[in-house]
């Protein structure tokens, strides 16, 4: 059954930025796009274990801080070496100023 979690407040994430959200031994990355939409993905890069929340958001791309691997954080698509495996994404909705993610 789907489980919706409160990840953070809307204001916790700056525009075109990302923060880390840990829950139940798992790590997630919560993004706020330049056009003020919210997205969520797994928190670790699929290449090596680096927190994407330490990386750089540019438009719809998150760049990993360790080897500069790039993903489209809206779709999870890996955009080329050194990342070859797509990132898992999670549904997001906003409720009363809170960012909710469905981790399933």
């Amino acid at each position: 059954m789907a489980e919706w979690l409160e990840a953070c407040a809307v204001d916790d994430v700056e525009e075109e930025d990302v923060i880390r959200f840990d829950h139940g031994g798992r790590s997630f990355a919560i993004y706020r796009s330049p056009d003020d939409e919210f997205f969520a993905t797994d928190g670790f890069c699929t290449h090596e274990k680096a927190h994407l929340a330490d990386g750089l958001v540019m438009d719809d791309i998150i760049e990993c801080p360790k080897h500069n691997g790039r993903f489209n954080y809206k779709t999870g698509q890996a955009k080329g070496a050194p990342v070859c495996v797509n990132l898992k994404t999670y549904p997001v909705r906003i409720e009363a100023g809170k960012v909710m993610i469905e981790i399933g």
Partner: protein, 363 residues
Amino acid sequence: MTTMAKKRDYSLVGESTRAAIETGLASAEWYHTDVSRKAMKELMQRSDGPAIRDTVIWIVAILGSAAGIVWFWGSWWVVPFLFVYGVLYGSSSDSRWHECGHGTAFRTRWMNDVVYHIASFMLMRNPVQWRWSHARHHTDTIIVGRDAEIAVMRPPDLLKAGLAFTGILDFRYSLPTLVRQAFGRLSDEEKSYIPEMEQHRAVVAARWHVAIYVGTIALAIALRSWIPLVLIGLPRLYGTWHMVTTGLLQHIGLADNVVDHRLNTRTVYMNPISRFIYWNMNYHVEHHMFPMVPYHALPRLHELIKHDLPQPNPSMWHAYREVWPVLLRQLKYEDYYLKRELPPTARPYRGEFHEVDMSAAAE
């Protein structure tokens, strides 16, 4: 004081590899100087402007010096043009390869990719293979058995290190490697860091490079002239000295098998011309600690974190004078290394953070 230990095995599929994985040195958590998210976000910001400016200067200088070589061929006036062209082709291509490989030079991805592939060709480096080897170098910097880019191994082979300045050894390695790869053969070591799904791309890239070299040789024969080879391929020999002069200093003589870049990487202050050729990679501790920061922002990063880093060498000459006695001592005691002092403002090295035997460090 020094200690004796087992000989290092630099193979990427050998005993040291197994030991690095078992002890947790492989893919370990590395020390980072504290930098606020706000400051780091500003430093990481990408921009096309500086790299476009530098690349236009670079290309104009390459084409201009190439024109000088063609024009003055057969006279002594060709020498200064060979000097400039050689360094631009055989040395500055390394920093362009490096920065564009990281994807930090330009904001626009295709610009990084175009310059990356051109620079890879100039360096006789398979662009697919080397992208992966460099990722490994950042994951496991100077971890024996893991890092594919350790320039001077221990005990140091001083003849080999000296010959590196001529490019002969690199040339002798790089060209046959490309030919082997063009025939579809990757070594076990290459397969250890190139994912299977990328290996075919490495073979295709090698075929393109070899095809261009074959075309260049054919043109030289058809024209009965050395000029095509002097312009394409041979600069890897006569122009590589600056790349080696600057690049060797990145890690030579410092610790191995540690997880703190302050112990195994060196920052050296350099003159503006070398910094242009090297694209600020003289700030090498900073680059390794924060590879997301573009080359043009490294001086700012250096100012921000230098309180936590060893004092940089004030010049390349100073750095080599520091390194030379360490290399001589490593001939007898390969565990010996230079432990660089931290300023009082720095967080101390953590003995428990890594496996290095501090008693082997030079004082």
